[in-house]
Symmetry: D3
Subunit: 212 residues, 6 copies
């Protein structure tokens, strides 16, 4: 990539990079190399091969030794270039006993969650004004839907690891983890906003911001 940088002025004037939508395709496929976020050009179809549609290792457990006790292994267009323009992706989720996948949204995707192993509680919350909480305990073989854009979470409530495979309705669904976005943004959100928004004193807000 080093000798690529000097090209940028030219690129900036001429082609530069791209675009980004989920929509009907115009050809059989449009494979892209994951050079950067939002890179969606088509690889020459003659150079495309089966490996462009292939990914391996989804059977390998993610490392859950972290504060939330969970790990998401994405297979998005960045990991599987053949998904470009096709409007779908998957991910593996591992959750240690009593770990959680904390409240988050996918701004660009509905998620279908399929339990391969374990027992967990899942939930999502509807938009204003009702903010209804839909929750369910899931076992192996259960399937649950988190509609696009809504806040949802999973919590392992069993004694074994939870393993799940999820399908997402975008090649790049995006993830906004509520805690990280609100208390861990860079630079920080003013504590004046957060104390008022969460009705917490400044010390608690500062404590929260130091954690994320």
């Amino acid at each position: 990539m080093t000798n690529f940088s000097f090209l940028l002025p030219v690129l900036a004037l001429s082609i530069s990079l791209v675009f980004a939508v989920d929509a009907s395709t115009l050809q059989d496929f449009c494979v892209t190399n994951p050079i950067g976020q939002g890179n969606s050009e088509c690889k020459d179809p003659k150079l495309v091969g089966a490996n462009d549609f292939f990914f391996s290792g989804i059977h390998i457990a993610g490392n859950t030794t972290n504060p939330s006790g969970s790990k998401v292994t994405p297979v998005f267009a960045s990991q599987l270039p053949g998904l470009n323009t096709l409007g779908i992706s998957i991910a593996r989720i591992d959750i240690a006993p009593w770990g959680i996948n904390p409240p988050h949204t996918h701004p660009r995707a509905t998620e279908i969650f399929t339990v391969l192993e374990g027992t967990l509680e899942v939930g999502f919350i509807t938009s204003n004004p009702d903010n209804r909480h839909f929750t369910k305990v899931l076992q192996k073989g259960d399937v649950f839907v988190f509609p696009i854009g809504l806040i949802h979470y999973q919590r392992n409530i069993g004694y074994d690891n939870v393993v799940a495979l999820v399908a997402l309705s975008s090649q790049n669904p995006g993830v906004i983890t509520i805690g990280n976005a609100v208390f861990g943004a860079t630079p920080e959100i003013s504590s004046d906003v957060l104390t008022k928004a969460f009705q917490l004193d400044k010390n608690t807000i500062n404590y929260l911001q130091s954690k994320f």
Copy 2:
């Protein structure tokens, strides 16, 4: 509406309320009566008149005497039936001095925020992993964009009321206020999830849940 409820079981079996997408229209317009959420049938075009495309009162200040010191006055398809199928709506936002419009997302719309009166700070946070915080002080005549699905907020930092007019890229953008959805959901989200997600002790979580 009282004598309408007995129809619900039948409706549930037969027509019920129909559908819901933002997409290209198939006719000049498809005005709907706001019978219920998601109601999108077309009024007989012969009965449609100019008033179906009309709303008045957007110049009237919203009542900001509430904990957040702000008020949103929506002009969505529910308030302006002629907007049905047209993929756009507006709202007025009033914020008292030092009031805030707390962190929230619109799952179905980008927002263009135009300041009519006052001085305020606005910001939005990008998705994982960076959670970058883009913030700006706005004055009268300034315009700012909050991209679809991202968490954003506004805070009055002046001595006068803030008045803004916003445009939204959906006839029904939806609002998810983070605090309400996370700490005020019905039924409550288990404190096991929230203590872990926000790294707070159970008492603070309980306190938060009692507030929302």
Copy 3:
């Protein structure tokens, strides 16, 4: 509105099935009861509960004692009403040793195929004029993409059952099994068309049509 109720039986017969597109939602969700193909009305949101987003039993093996030695267990909007308008679905695929999932297309969906158990060969063929055949041997933990509309198949080449979970980019992807559609259509396609299209004699065509 009182005299509206007597219309309902007629409405049930006439309007019924309503519409059908994959597009941005206009509300958090639009749950539908699976009365019939293409049924897409929204259930009253107040009556919607977590069970509308739930399906169980995807861990149960499908019965592969049939000529092709394979079984697809769909979890589409018909089986999981909460998927309505959300543009995604899943399915489980079981293939007995040396069984196949015969060549077919999904006219409305890209498929991401994830191997949970077994060893198999998969392939898809590009459109005219090249009709390139992309093929790959897959093991447990491998993922493969079949782009929307292209003919594809799977074949168990191991000694154990193949179990796969697939994600599809439509709530109702549709399946066109080539053999069934071409040789098993009702009424039959004229053997004049088929002899010419497949350059086979009339006896072979008749034999094929008797099999499907």
Copy 4:
């Protein structure tokens, strides 16, 4: 269906016409009966037959004995119910020698114009600020594209009738004939607007309005 007709006035008031978008289908087809503009419910698939996808008579010349000397014969979803949800339609255009198809737009469709007989001039005008006029003389076998939403026209410049077949990228493209819309609207547009917009005196505007 006989006792169905008395319901129509009620239907017009209550459910009426439902919805309307051009988008991906959710099923093989969604045939609709042409009860009214914008009517998009799906006929029971079991009752659908080949005739729902059939229209005849496009070889019959339209009657061009009218002031503009032209006639459009539409084959839209209203005329061919099988086109519902499929995003395409066609029309036949007949233009007598020196007749015109006056300047108009299709708000929902690009048009591909194919000359079957005759010689004509066609043109379209780009949007502001350039208002460039793209024009071409066409003969039998020529094809021309009018991009969606742009004002265009055709004029027979030969001695024989022009016959054309056009394809349109919507099941209901819509037509706005500029002269009719501007000078023939009901009720009339105030002459104050028109004198200023077209820099004509009031008498000429009144004369124009009396003509349309």
Copy 5:
């Protein structure tokens, strides 16, 4: 591919501008520099800042000293690069007393018109065959909808300036002013077409063409 390299200079001049659709985003945002019409590449997200989502000056009155007595100040993706791919834009409209915003269409956008100051008449005309004229007198605080693709206008009928803020459902809505497109196209539309289309004599048409 060897003889392909000499094409690059041409490619640099020709390809450039890239693509262009309103659709779901594939990432948080895709900021573009306004190099030219239709330029939609994504700026490197790391170089994006709050100013890319910012525009100032919408409170400044437009100069209405022109024949129509009105001025539109656009805030489209060309003026506010952060709007790229987000499907929405705004504009300010100033109309002097008795000035008009002459009949025009937006081929790619519905418009929501909000009156900030003044009194005006607005109207739009439906498509063929009815060409119904929907008209309304608006005051400060009134809101009116002009559905996508339909001809519409505004006319100041008060003694003060009209100031309006409009929201448009496209990042680049396009404007076709009817008078300019029909009588001011370059090169001119043949007077044979216009005399027939508007039933005016050649002198009046020539007069009109000289004015635009």
Copy 6:
């Protein structure tokens, strides 16, 4: 710009050829030069002229002296660059007496088939599980619809050539001829798959594969 050519290997790896969707346009048009499949950049609008929207020769009969006795002459975006982003295309179909257009699908388009000359049988087959065969005999002036993604065919059953003009709802509809894709793929599909899928012995499969 001469020293730009050495960049090609880099460009080939990085940007290559771009994107591809059918969706709403963002400008009046986006003409592309047919440099390669999937190439969808916009030509500089100032260099665009009427010829970019023009194609000639659709009145010339295709050469049907081939095994199927039919010929398709496409007018897609590759042949008519002005069609880029506009979501529609056309083609001419010639079928000699007793020739056929063999069973095929268009993965990205509905087709409206208009008979200009001759007598033919047409048919399409619905998806699983019914695989219903809808068939019809067509004469000059008849119109028939083949819904997107479904297998369909045409067969000349008269004594004269069939000439048809078809409209397709994509700028690049794609064609998958069933026989070619299944029996003529490169490399061949394993005969193990085909014998099982079509319940034919290996010799017949080998014979079929040698033919395609």
